[in-house]
């Protein structure tokens, strides 16, 4: 316990020391780092994420588990999570933000096509999974076909 506490105090002190390194570097290289602009960017990133992005993701997840039928919930959660991540990562390429007419080796691929293909694989796989769950549910239904026909 004592050793654990010492290690934690040491880690926290090292963390504060790294903040000091950050401040020193940002001040010494202020022409390049532009500390005021730099701080605004990461504070904005944290605030936008915590106030907009995370609540929106939680709201979408809530709608899925509240309204989707049982057999669809997990596959739909999976497809949405994967899609959100893939779109976020490929966004700059998809929009062609870094494209340079003088240098076609930046963003050389067809990103709309690549994204469509990737999302198609994800959604087809999840649709297959959902269909399998639905079939299993129907097979497992103890009563006649009239009841099993209404999966919920």
């Amino acid at each position: 316990m004592r050793a654990g506490t010492a290690a934690r105090v040491l880690a926290a002190v090292a963390g504060v020391a790294m903040f000091a390194v950050t401040v020193r570097y940002a001040v010494l290289r202020s022409i390049d780092v532009r500390p005021a602009v730099w701080v605004r960017w990461w504070v904005t990133a944290a605030v936008v994420h915590d106030v907009v992005v995370a609540p929106a993701a939680i709201a979408v997840g809530w709608l899925v588990v509240r309204f989707a039928p049982r057999w669809l919930k997990a596959p739909l959660q999976t497809a949405l999570l994967l899609s959100a991540v893939i779109v976020a990562v490929s966004w700059p390429a998809l929009r062609g933000y870094g494209r340079m007419p003088s240098n076609p080796t930046y963003l050389p691929r067809d990103y709309a096509g690549g994204l469509t293909l990737t999302l198609a694989v994800v959604w087809i796989a999840c649709a297959g999974w959902a269909a399998a769950r639905l079939v299993r549910r129907r097979q497992a239904a103890p009563l006649g076909p009239s009841v099993a026909a209404a999966p919920r």
Partner: protein
């Protein structure tokens, strides 16, 4: 530590939406069992590992470009920088789903009331702004950078470097604050109290987050992992594209070095040398050459191997009578640009494979690859493989 702070009680209509600050995480009104310490702990460890890998590989890349006086960058192994920088970008991209999932899982703590009750909780929460803001900044600016997108008014490399210290500092403080909760959460089974009602289970959720990291890796890593090239449909660079099948970061058009007049072109070797040299392109071609198979590795994570032919830098230095162990600075025909000159350290200057190359895969260099002459050296970031070389200054 025992000091307990008193907070005003919000109206009941508001209060019932705000989780308690206790441990484990109290779920919000959605009552999802995925907002859970056991998930947060596992994702937290994965993030601590990936961020540490990114930090160390990033530091390595940084010191190559801003070498401290006490550190001599080795020229060998030749492919080292290709591996470290590939790992840096691949790991950073794979960390994106891990970070988003972790922040999602612990989000109820963001709206808990009261925000903190003890000094330990106050420190923990205070370190979250640099940790969360810095993490999002690093992964966001890195993702934009590999696409060549710079929507900000700071220098990417230096701002990214500053944010890495900020984030790792926040991470250390965070680890100190949550080590106990994490250890306790890891001891509890993921399966316990996990009735899903058709939803993702905790293990299922972690599996999907891992799958997201896998999809991101497969669809992007082909920028440096050649066998994945066909699957990497979202990679921002393609190692097989470009003039002579090799990508370019700064084109001759952008550098203003298209259509070099070979009649006027001279390679100068000057500075602390016994006999300064002034060579025409033909005189350089007439020297004995060497072919080396070396990767060109960009700081943005792509890499491509090629066979380069040219004059070893050390042969030129010897011919000019430079002292062994001298430091060399190369200058480009390019008039402007942050990487117009580059320093070649002792180890690189002495390496047989450090070439002033004239040919790429048997053909004269394309203007975009630095015609008439470019530096190509083992274990070196692409931005320091100076193109359109015209001066070799010995210091």
């Amino acid at each position: 530590m025992a000091v307990r702070l008193r907070w005003p009680e919000p109206p009941p209509a508001v209060r019932r939406w705000l989780p308690e600050p206790g441990e484990p995480i109290a779920p919000p009104a959605t009552s999802s069992k995925l907002h859970d310490d056991r998930i947060a702990a596992r994702l937290g460890i994965a993030l601590a590992v990936t961020f540490t890998v990114c930090f160390l590989t990033g530091l390595w890349s940084h010191v190559q470009q801003d070498p401290p006086t006490w550190l001599a960058i080795p020229a060998r192994p030749a492919g080292l920088y290709r591996i470290t920088q590939g790992v840096h970008v691949i790991t950073g991209l794979a960390a994106i789903p891990l970070l988003l999932a972790k922040l999602w899982a612990v989000w109820p703590r963001f709206v808990q009331w009261p925000p903190f009750r003890t000094v330990r909780e106050a420190l923990w929460r205070a370190a979250l702004l640099p940790l969360v803001g810095g993490s999002l900044f690093l992964l966001g600016t890195g993702t934009a950078n590999i696409a060549g997108w710079y929507p900000w008014k700071f220098d990417f490399r230096k701002a990214h470097f500053a944010a890495s210290w900020l984030t790792m500092g926040g991470l250390l403080i965070h680890v100190a604050a949550v080590a106990g909760i994490t250890a306790a959460a890891l001891r509890r089974s993921l399966k316990e109290d996990d009735a899903t009602d058709g939803r993702l289970s905790r293990r299922g959720f972690l599996g999907v987050v891992g799958a997201a990291a896998g999809v991101v890796t497969v669809t992007t890593a082909g920028a440096t992992v050649r066998p994945l090239r066909a699957l990497s449909v979202l990679a921002t660079r393609d190692p097989g594209s470009g003039p002579q099948g090799v990508p370019v970061n700064r084109s001759a058009a952008d550098a203003g070095t298209r259509g070099v007049d070979l009649g006027a072109y001279r390679l100068r070797v000057e500075g602390r040398v016994a006999t300064p040299l002034v060579l025409t392109y033909d005189e350089v071609l007439a020297m004995s050459t060497r072919t080396a198979s070396l990767p060109i590795t960009c700081v943005e994570g792509w890499s491509a191997s090629a066979d380069w032919r040219g004059v070893p830098l050390r042969d030129l230095l010897r011919r000019a009578g430079a002292e062994p162990g001298a430091e060399v600075v190369l200058s480009s025909l390019e008039q402007r640009g942050a990487y117009r000159t580059s320093k070649v350290g002792q180890d690189h200057a002495a390496d047989a494979d450090t070439l002033l190359a004239t040919h790429l895969d048997g053909q004269p260099l394309d203007p975009d690859h630095g015609f008439p002459l470019r530096l190509i050296a083992p274990n070196r970031p692409g931005v320091l493989q100076t193109k359109w070389v015209t001066t070799v200054e010995v210091r």
